[in-house]
């Protein structure tokens, strides 16, 4: 089908897919289904009683902050996309182009870490000896850990690949990909904007900061003492929620940076095979051996963005701690003696 001005519906779809803001719109449509599914799953698997009010009060600030930061990150990512894609900021090299999400996640995790240390850690009312060694991974699900590692590895691999295949421009910025004219070695290669070290190094720095803060926050959350032996199960559940939120923020930020990098690489892949008629008779042939890979990245990048936005919407809307009314129904058990707990 073609529209009145000659633009086909496929062209329109391609144009929409080319902006992360369309991914956000799609995520807004998909997110309610995901939230409904995860809530029903949580209801099925929840085995622990509602936490006592004192425990809720201890963990509520970090839970609320993670939820609020999910919303903040959606705004940051949308705003940075709008600035990069639409705002007139000249032709300056925006080296920070792929880092806003990671920088926002780092800041958010620093605040969460601060809340865990200050308001989320209390001396035990009744000491509970926990014979199991707790560390940064103790309350993270296998899925969250796997997702974090896989996305981090993909982002680093993409950045290193982009950096190694990039070339420096006359201003010293590693932001070009040179496509040689295969049948005319004497002619300068075609140079295109590319995800080189100029963009990649800031991403690696921001990634290190985000992962470092996530590790510190997870470790600190796991290491704090339990309030009482009878609250250990509830506290474990709340720490799992905190860990899940921390993983979600960092994974969403990494996915968005990865999607941006893939989009930029895919733009070069559009020059799959360029043939230009030359003065000397024969055409100039330009090919890039990674063009097929780049074409695949063009399809995958928007999917990553949709997943990132769905995760953030989910964390912003679904991470609401059980209400105090429910907690009031919980019969708090007290044990006057030091106890050994199973975790």
């Amino acid at each position: 089908m073609r529209l009145g001005n000659g633009i086909g519906s496929i062209d329109v779809a391609g144009l929409l897919w080319s902006t992360p803001l369309f991914s956000l719109a799609l995520a807004v449509i998909i997110a309610p289904v995901v939230i409904a599914f995860t809530r029903s799953r949580v209801r099925r698997t929840a085995t622990v009683e509602a936490p006592p009010a004192a425990v809720l009060a201890q963990y509520a600030p970090e839970g609320r902050m993670i939820a609020a930061w999910g919303a903040v990150m959606i705004l940051v990512l949308a705003a940075s996309t709008a600035i990069i894609d639409y705002a007139v900021v000249g032709q300056a090299i925006r080296w920070w182009r792929f880092t806003p999400g990671l920088a926002a996640a780092t800041l958010g995790l620093a605040i969460v870490f601060g809340l865990i240390v200050t308001r989320g850690t209390r001396p035990p009312e009744i000491p509970a000896l926990s014979p199991v060694r707790r560390h940064w991974a103790s309350f993270s699900s296998r899925t969250a850990m796997t997702a974090t590692v896989v996305v981090a590895v993909l982002l680093v691999a993409t950045t290193v690949f982009g950096g190694l295949t990039s070339e420096m421009d006359s201003d010293g910025n590693w932001r070009w990909l040179a496509l040689p004219i295969v049948n005319e070695p004497g002619i300068d290669p075609i140079r295109m904007n590319y995800y080189g070290w100029t963009f990649g190094v800031p991403v690696l720095v921001a990634l290190t900061a985000a992962l470092g803060l996530a590790w510190v926050a997870l470790d600190r959350s796991a290491a704090r003492p339990f309030l009482r032996p009878d609250t250990v199960d509830a506290e474990r559940q709340l720490r799992r929620q905190t860990a899940s939120g921390i993983h979600t923020l960092v994974v969403a930020a990494m996915l968005f940076a990865l999607a941006g990098a893939w989009r930029m690489i895919a733009e070069v892949g559009a020059v799959r095979e360029l043939v230009i008629g030359g003065d000397a008779g024969g055409p100039y042939e330009v090919t890039w051996r990674h063009a097929d890979l780049a074409a695949g990245l063009a399809v995958a990048a928007p999917v990553l963005e949709v997943v990132a936005f769905v995760l953030l919407i989910n964390v912003a809307l679904n991470r609401i701690l059980p209400s105090v009314t429910v907690a009031a129904q919980y019969a708090a058990r007290t044990n006057p003696q030091r106890s050994v707990v199973s975790s």
Binding site: P124, P131, A223, P225, F226
Partner: protein
């Protein structure tokens, strides 16, 4: 009349003995697998609201009894001779206990099935 507090050093020793007894009980009862790491001194101290020195003293007592082995960088681990079960068996038992709890299975039923599977007739 004001209660007389024992001197700090005496209180620390008393707490260290309590911690030592708790861990010894757990090791002898089979709660830990062979070569399994004990919580860090810092974690134990934080959990119990005692000083790190007190927790370290308890760990030293466990080591003197041959219940744990402390190596630099490897932490404090349960001595193979003191543990009831191997690490791999313990890991599976913990996974089974967790899975049973999340599935709402009665622990007694799980134990009965385990006994049945472990009996020579099965």
């Amino acid at each position: 009349m004001t209660a007389v507090q024992p001197p700090v050093a005496e209180r620390d020793t008393s707490s260290a003995i309590d911690i030592y007894r708790s861990f010894r009980g757990l090791i002898v009862a089979g709660h830990f697998a062979a070569n399994e790491r004990l919580p860090s001194v810092r974690q134990t101290a934080t959990d119990l609201g005692v000083s790190a020195g007190t927790a370290a003293k308890a760990y030293k007592m466990l080591e003197q009894d041959g219940l744990v082995i402390t190596r630099t960088a490897a932490g404090t681990r349960v001595a193979p001779s003191a543990a009831v079960l191997s690490e791999s068996v313990m890991r599976r038992i913990r996974a089974l206990a967790e899975e049973s709890a999340s599935a709402g299975a009665d622990l007694e039923d799980v134990i009965a099935v385990l006994r049945l599977l472990g009996s020579p007739q099965s």
